[in-house]
Symmetry: C2
């Protein structure tokens, strides 16, 4: 029930890309540095984000990476799905009849609701807002208090 | 972000134990059969539930397994924790300073909220209610409609 390391790194990369000015591009080296992402992970993650339609990759002198979609239209859920695939709290939630108990198992309904509550939060979190918030916190203008509780 | 197979089987075992009359005990063979739990899993799961203080194991002729705590006081969260340990949606939520970005990373706050929403649902789901609901559904007295949506 844990985010993969790759998805966590992917989120860092995407928040950084959401923080740069429109039209600018970021090098792979900068993404590795700001996200503290090991190089062994980064190539695959960037490829998955490209394949998922979330970023563009440009070659050449003025090359680099940029968001393919405006940041306000990308949620944390989109990033997670692009990297680790769809979220299923339990295998019985996968499409099709993956469990023959789901017609009557009361726990099945609980998994559905628990997963929906979690997904709602991940879907509501948009990259533009996360990038702004991270920048403010790093600048010390906003103190993080509630997240510590 | 998925429940382990062992935890899923543990939930099946616990719902079955919550469905029997007080004072009765259930054999390991019956638990394996009703939960469709492979024997290779069952021994360890039962041990973890005993260690977690959720069930009692009795030897001898009238031996078997029973809940150690009234079913209404056991949540799905308790069962999951006894088998797969605490739930952390991301490693940065583990206690201690597992990530040096958590002071300013805006995603960290989202993980906290998403995890809390999911945990609320798992904690609210009590075994007595799940056992009653599963029995009603199996009997055909309650049709499962909303869980399909």
């Amino acid at each position: 029930m844990q985010l993969t390391r790759a998805a966590d790194y992917g989120v860092r990369v995407m928040i950084h890309l959401a923080s740069i000015a429109k039209g600018e591009r970021v090098s792979r080296a900068e993404l590795a540095h700001t996200g503290a992402v090991p190089d062994s992970f980064l190539g695959k993650i960037l490829q998955q984000l490209v394949n998922g339609g979330l970023i563009h990759s440009h070659r050449g002198k003025s090359g680099g990476f940029e968001l393919a979609v405006p940041a306000e239209r990308i949620s944390l859920l989109d990033v997670i799905r692009a990297i680790q695939g769809p979220i299923y709290l339990n295998t019985c939630l996968m499409s099709g009849d993956s469990c023959d108990r789901q017609g009557w198992c009361a726990a099945h309904s609980v998994w559905i609701v628990a997963q929906a509550r979690m997904i709602e939060v991940l879907e509501a979190a948009r990259l533009d807002q996360l990038a702004r918030e991270s920048a403010l916190r790093q600048s010390g203008l906003v103190e993080v208090t509630w997240a510590k509780s």
